[in-house]
Symmetry: C2
Subunit: 334 residues, 2 copies
């Protein structure tokens, strides 16, 4: 399984190693005859350049390292696709890693990425301490996605969670809802801005905010609704859930309690996961431009890697509301 080297190709084509190098890199100043001879020799031998040797010799890297905190989360998967689309066309290679939402494993994952001396790294929703981020940032251009950070050297790309909540509340208010509750995402990433956005959107309309502690899960959403029902009093006519999973859990708890969605209670999710699009669910939700986030992150990273920019840039993307079947005007007062 010993693979051929440039030397082998050079020998077979009857040229020097340096010429093979030029051909492999597509240099324009190589005669046509030699070029084809080299190319033929290369395919005959099944040769392809050794990425590591190349990177070592040129002291440049085509590797962009990506640490994904949670691979199972479709949100990150789509951000990665966005990254990938840019990275690939620019001739870089993605090296993805995961830390499974565990700080020490994430730390190791980041170290492992850095050991490749990458052109840059992107951390998607990291849960590592900021010291790890700071450390990474002075070893390679560093980009944070779905995680804000005030370090002067790291770039960030985030969804504007406050604006997303504003969209949800605005939609519900237009439908005539005045009693709108928010199921809070707790310590989850982006939960804080979503909550802030909800509260200020309510205040702006002179409405009374109601934040119910919950979490980013199906069962968390169900539990929050049961808590709400147990309180007695009049139930809100609409709910702005922490995310889609949370919304789906809330819906099942509402239905179990004999309430219909959206006739009795409207529900808005957040994230527009594929779950929300299922006809069985058909959830009105806030869509984050995930692919776009990936693209922007990749572009910012490449700018840095090419030394075209040195100050940090913080991008905030605007979410959009996707209206489906879980929102409607509130029931007539009875």
């Amino acid at each position: 399984m010993r693979r051929p080297t440039m030397e082998d190709v050079a020998a077979r084509a009857g040229v020097s190693r340096a010429l093979v190098s030029l051909v492999m890199r597509g240099s324009p100043r190589v005669g046509e005859a030699r070029r084809t001879a080299v190319l033929r020799a290369a395919t005959e031998l099944g040769y392809s350049p050794h990425a590591m040797a190349r990177s070592l010799a040129s002291a440049t890297s085509t590797v962009i390292g990506v640490m994904v905190s949670d691979l199972r989360n479709a949100f990150f998967a789509e951000v990665v696709e966005g990254l990938d689309s840019v990275i690939m066309t620019e001739g870089f290679d993605l090296v993805i890693n995961t830390g499974a939402r565990d700080p020490s494993r994430e730390h190791r994952a980041v170290q492992s990425l850095l050991s490749f001396r990458p052109a840059g790294i992107a951390l998607l929703g990291p849960v590592v301490p900021s010291s790890t981020i700071a450390d990474a940032a002075d070893k390679a251009p560093t980009m944070l996605v779905a995680h804000s950070c005030a370090l002067p050297t790291v770039d960030t790309v985030n969804d504007d969670g406050e604006a997303g909540s504003e969209l949800a509340v605005s939609h519900l208010a237009e439908q005539g809802h005045r009693s709108i509750a928010h199921l809070d995402g707790g310590g989850g990433s982006q939960a804080a801005p979503r909550r802030r956005g909800y509260v200020s959107a309510m205040h702006r309309r002179g409405l009374q905010p109601l934040v119910v502690p919950s979490e980013y899960t199906d069962s968390g959403g169900a539990r929050a609704v049961r808590d709400l029902l147990a309180r007695g009093g009049t139930l809100p006519t609409a709910i702005v859930a922490a995310n889609d999973f949370n919304a789906v859990g809330a819906i099942s708890a509402l239905e179990e309690a004999g309430l219909r969605v959206p006739q009795d209670v409207s529900v808005v999710g957040y994230d527009n996961t594929s779950l929300a699009a299922l006809r069985h669910v058909s959830l009105t939700t806030v869509d984050q431009p995930r692919h776009e986030m990936g693209r922007l992150a990749a572009e910012a990273l490449l700018e840095r890697a090419r030394g075209q920019r040195s100050e940090a840039v913080h991008q905030m993307l605007h979410p959009a509301l996707v209206i489906r079947a879980t929102t409607a005007p509130p029931p007539p007062r009875g």
Copy 2:
């Protein structure tokens, strides 16, 4: 941003480069005094070994390349987690790549992985032509997950799709169902064995199989059920869907037609995705040991990489049925 090299550490610690190398690799035959001196110098300089230079010099690689055909698919994400758990503890590095289910992009992705001269590569649900696989296999130990292949040099790990269908049919038959339809996954990966398993399970029980063309999507499942309804005649009392998405689509179409699940029709999914576990869905489904598949794939790959085995090994894992709320005995004949 120039990072320190072994030379720098050696100079600072007052020893030779070779000694630093030994320390970094944890060699036992280094005196205690020098070892600590080297380690201190390394941390002071923020040194960490250059993975590529190391790999080049040692002609060995710690990279295990993984090409994931579809990152958004939670199935693969969990297989990757299984791989990762083994790979990491064995001191290897995962390099993940994606081809977005596009043959030519997957081909490029595989080439890119090979350019790192990895210790081995794993292709998860690849859609590349088998020539690409054959080519990869003679450049690095190659493992196929969720894709079978008769090449004498490649290992495979698969879920036993036939056994999964058998489990589903068996469960339904025990409940008393005799008219059980299968929504077929079409050209999707693993659709063929699932269909075969269904057909033979039906025959084994003297039941008449009914295969309805469909696909691995929500809308495909809904369409197949509408086709079924449009045929007239008696509807099957149970459905073995192609996968979970397909099952959920089927359920919504059934409900739209005024049929209740499971009172009128039982539905079994396949994959046990997180979707199936949602209380709102609560789908009876076939669970594949995804994490286990990843673990086994990693172990087999490392065996090969270490030269402990040279013949191909094909592993077939047994699925399990997860019974939830979408299956029940058929309605009494009326």
